[in-house]
Amino acid sequence: MCPDDQILSQYFDGEVDLSTKEMIESHVDDCWRCRKRIEAFTNIRFKMLEEDEIDIDSEKEQVYRKIENDYRFRQRKGFWDKKWLIPAPVVVVSSIVICILFSALFVTLGMNQKNTIALKQQRALHIQMNEIQLDDLNQFFDSQDFMIEAKMELPAQGDFSIMGEPQLLRAVDSKRR
């Protein structure tokens, strides 16, 4: 009885236990069909590793030169910077955690007291993230699909900046209305 082709593939990769290995080896000795299957795997591996297309040495030199000329290689700015460096995923995760904690805190307060107290107005948290681009962050957010998303189409002039403490207020209280 021939072993499953899947098992032969695993055997070929050395990913079977000892007893299975011995069993297959003795079977293959007498089985032309299974020998052919394994030959096919060998053929694929061999053809893949036949390297006639890549000049490894020249590529290696070329890319190394590009690295040497890369400004990030020369400066190593992010590393020696004294600013507070936090990898972006840590920031994102911790901000989600902070949000959950605040919500949890609030819910607890709400449940313990008849008159719910609004959260003390917290000052905003500011963090400077180096070595990160908005593109990286967008890719991270792309993988989460629980948001309403919109791209703001804006006139070219003008830009964004942090203008002060973020605010939440009633429209009637707002002077601009």
Binding site: M48, K60, I67, R76
Partner: protein, 173 residues
């Protein structure tokens, strides 16, 4: 470049791991230009993060993971561009990445490379990590974030599909 022990170490890692990395990138994307960019990016990231690894293999896995992410994003961009193009022209179009035209310029794209490019991303990634990355199923599973069982099945399917593609190619050529 600073000639201190860190730089020497970086160069050593670079020389050791570059061949594996460029092979993986090239056979995944089919474009040498893209592959050079990806490898450059991966090593720069290594340098910037100033990671020290307990052994050479750990460095290799870290770099391969970075390369795999960069390739994944590249593939997604390609698909998005192809879809956008189709929407505009209202007809399907097979977009040749610049790499394919490069390679086609050479006298003959080997049958195996041709066939590899035809594999779907999920199958191509495992067989390339297996044969060029020389990794075992467990390592491949960790890099790709899938189960070992999944790796087993995909490697086998990749081989099956490659066999068929190679045969077809033989008849054509």
């Amino acid at each position: 470049m600073r000639k201190d022990s860190e730089s020497v170490e970086f160069t050593r890692i670079y020389n050791t791991i570059f061949p594996t990395l460029i092979r993986i990138a090239y056979h995944m994307t089919g474009s040498m230009t893209i592959s050079e960019d990806i490898c450059q990016e991966a090593f720069i990231k290594l340098y910037q993060r100033n990671k020290s690894f307990p052994d050479k293999d750990q460095a290799k896995y870290w770099l391969i993971r970075v390369v795999k992410n960069l390739i994944f994003n590249y593939e997604k961009r390609k698909t998005r561009e192809r879809k956008a193009y189709q929407r505009v022209l209202q007809q399907p179009r097979r977009i040749e990445p610049s790499g394919e035209t490069e390679v086609l310029k050479k006298e003959k794209l080997s049958i195996i490379q041709n066939s590899l490019q035809k594999l779907p991303y999920k199958l191509r990634s495992v067989i390339i990590l297996k044969e060029y990355g020389r990794m075992n199923y467990r390592e491949i599973a960790k890099i790709l974030g899938i189960s070992e069982g999944n790796v087993k099945v995909r490697v086998h399917r990749a081989r099956e599909m490659l066999s068929v593609l190679i045969k077809e190619n033989d008849y054509v050529s």
